[in-house]
């Protein structure tokens, strides 16, 4: 590049010679000096200081050689020309000095503008980056582009400096890692003579959060001052951005933690409430009967009917308790993925019958209507789990409708498989909560019923969906809820 610029200034001098040649006899040679001055100024503006100085000297010689008598020799006939030579040289040197200064300033301004542009582009991208990964990606992209280098960002994790992101294909050698660690611990830039890669600490007002490394691409061995500055600015921006992202992530985590804690507290409260309620009844019954047995003076007198009633109450409560424990276990299994399905061709009528038998005692005081379409095909399901779905739905139907109202169970063929529907004549579910009743620990808002911890339906949903089916709730005309689920028939095997 430099060589070309010198060549260009020589070319310009040659041009002046060629331009002046036709006028050599018409114009006084002293006036032709102006041509050479113009060439020196042009060299200074376009080629810089060095080429302009060269042009000044060559101009003097060329002027002497081509235009001053005797022509084609460096000897001078008229000694006055020596003053002309000196004038041309001095003016040429001074002008070239000024012109090249202007040139350098323009170049400097252009470079500064490019830097400002690069910096503002980076800070723009950093501002919109939502998470650490996007942010670091922006840093690596901008750094490598603006500095024509490969870039790498290292951050500290558990007091170890690790590479978080780098330009594609850029890996650090062990000695480079060593330098990076040194930069990180000393919070200062360190240059290593053997390494092209340079590192700067990523700092914020409180601490060092990482290290930014760049390796110039190509034969360049280092940066000029302006690139050096840009590199520093990038490191500063990145340090602040990392700090900001870390703070945002921390706030997020704290928020989630407090949400989880809130949920756990609610859950623990309702579980312990639901576990304790049956225990209270059972304990109460047993204590009363024990007192009667022990026959102390102030023991209550219980006629056989009252005793029977108490015992039956206690027994029913153990059934509730057991159902709750089973549901908690099922939920845990569903959540942890430990639920293993043992599917086999099953008769939905058999499953419904089995669920009704399991609920027999609770259902006895109610009218239960069962309608099952004859000759339904077998479904490939886990018998025990689908039975649990129906038990939970029946349990809900009983819980959320008043004594004396009927419960109905229908099963029929559906275009997607086999549909099972459980109906009650309870209060129904507010339209805006028809979907949320299937979420875990969800209880109807403004419900006077406190029984249940909102596990039943979410377990149903988990089981039905594990079978590739779906479950939903609707309100019935004339009041009450209808919960339906569809189990897909066994998919035909490929090729058959």
């Amino acid at each position: 590049m430099k060589f070309l610029r010198y060549l260009l200034s020589l070319g310009l001098v040659a041009l002046a010679v060629l331009a002046g040649w036709p006028f050599r006899s018409l114009i006084h040679p002293v006036n032709l000096v102006m041509l050479f001055l113009a060439v020196v100024v042009a060299s200074a503006v376009f080629c810089g200081r060095g080429p302009a100085i060269l042009a000044s000297f060559i101009s003097v010689f060329a002027f002497d050689y081509f235009f001053v008598d005797p022509r084609f020799s460096f000897s001078v006939a008229d000694a006055e020309y020596l003053i002309t030579f000196l004038g041309l040289l001095v003016v040429g040197l001074v002008v070239s000095g000024f012109a090249s200064q202007v040139r350098e300033q323009v170049l400097k301004l252009q470079a500064r503008e490019a830097q400002t542009e690069a910096l503002s582009a980076l800070s723009r991208d950093l501002a919109v980056a939502g998470d650490m990964q996007t942010m670091l990606q922006a840093v690596v992209d901008h750094t490598s582009r603006s500095l024509a280098s490969q870039a790498v960002v290292l951050t500290s994790e558990d007091n170890h400096l690790v590479v978080r992101l780098s330009s594609p294909g850029f890996t650090l050698s062990e000695s480079e890692m060593e330098t990076a660690r040194l930069v990180f611990s000393s919070k200062e830039a360190h240059a290593s003579a053997q390494q092209k890669t340079r590192f700067l600490p990523l700092t914020n007002p409180h601490s060092v959060v990482g290290v930014l490394g760049v390796k110039p691409v190509g034969k360049r061995s280092g940066f000029d001052t302006s690139q050096e500055k840009l590199f520093e600015s990038f490191a500063n921006l990145t340090g602040l951005a990392i700090e900001r992202t870390l703070l945002a992530e921390q706030t997020n985590r704290l928020h989630m933690l407090s949400e989880t804690e809130k949920l756990q507290t609610t859950l623990l409260n309702s579980i312990s409430h639901d576990l304790r309620t049956p225990l209270v009844s059972i304990r109460g019954v047993l204590d009363s009967l024990l007192e009667v047995e022990q026959g102390s003076e102030d023991s209550p007198r219980l006629d056989p009917a009252a005793r029977l009633d108490m015992l039956q109450n206690a027994r029913e409560e153990t059934i509730h308790l057991n159902r709750l424990v089973e549901n908690l276990l099922d939920m845990t299994r569903l959540e942890s993925g430990a639920l293993k399905m043992h599917t086999e061709p099953s008769d939905i009528q058999d499953i419904i019958g089995s669920a009704l038998a399991a609920m027999e005692e609770s259902l006895r005081p109610r009218s239960v209507q069962v309608e099952i379409e004859p000759d339904l095909p077998l479904v490939e399901v886990d018998f025990v789990l689908v039975e649990q779905v129906i038990i939970n739905l029946l349990d809900n139907a009983l819980k959320y409708s008043s004594a004396g109202t009927p419960v109905e169970v229908f099963a029929c063929r559906d275009e997607c498989g086999i549909a099972v529907e459980v109906f009650d004549r309870g209060k129904g579910i507010p339209t805006d909560q028809l979907e949320s009743v299937f979420s875990k620990f969800y209880r109807l808002k403004h419900s006077e019923l406190t029984q249940g911890i909102g596990l039943g339906l979410s377990i149903c949903k988990g089981i039905v969906e594990a079978h590739g089916g779906r479950i939903w709730a609707e309100n019935r005309l004339g009041g009450g809820t209808k919960i339906s689920f569809i189990l897909p028939l066994r998919r035909e095997k490929d090729g058959s």
């Binding site: 153990t318 057991n322 089973e326 276990l329 099922d330 299994r333 043992h342 086999e344 061709p345 099953s346 008769d347 009528q349 058999d350 419904i352 019958g353 089995s354 009704l356 038998a357 399991a358 069962v370 309608e371 099952i372 077998l378 886990d382 018998f383 025990v384 039975e387």
Partner: protein
Amino acid sequence: MTEQKVTILLVDDEKAIRRFLRTSLQGHGYEVVEAVTGQEALIAATEHRFDAIILDLGLPDMDGTEVTRRLREWSQTPIIILSVRSHENDKIAALDAGADDYLTKPFGAGELMARLRVSLRHAGHEDEEPVFTTGDLKVDLAHRQVWVGGVEIDLTPTEYDLLHMLVQHAGKVITHSQFLREVWGGAYEEESHLLRVNISNLRRKIEPDPNRPVYILTEPGVGYRLKA
């Protein structure tokens, strides 16, 4: 000479459950010997002759199924398994290893006594009555005839074979694979749809309401049981 009491070996590692079972069993006139581990149970069984064994599947030292298998190598004493829901495969394994019946925890003392009586009766090799009756259902094994409420029912040979097997083991659980092996033969052990369809048909013919069966009871995930 006093009448020889029926002796039961009770194997469970939970003290509270042993206490409850011991009281209930003694209340029904049974003699009870307790064991806490599988090893203890196996030793006790060689030292004593028991009329029945009540065995928890979840023992600390060895699997209840393993205890069943070892006992069955030399003893035909009825074994009733205690297990929890959602361990259907363990129950099936224990039943296939030779256990006679099972109960799912929590269970009532009444249920246990009923299972025990059935198992003791089957073990007693009492001469089978040629005619079996439960509720409105009557099965004449000698003449292969079935009545419900006095009306004779027409069954296919497979349906009759299923019912015959249920009657032979009346009150006891029969696993799916036991049915398939005995009625269809060993090659059909995986063809459980055959069993489902035939049980469904059989129920339609003999149950007053096939939607809520009262004679052929389903043991979810395990098998079927005829009401005794």
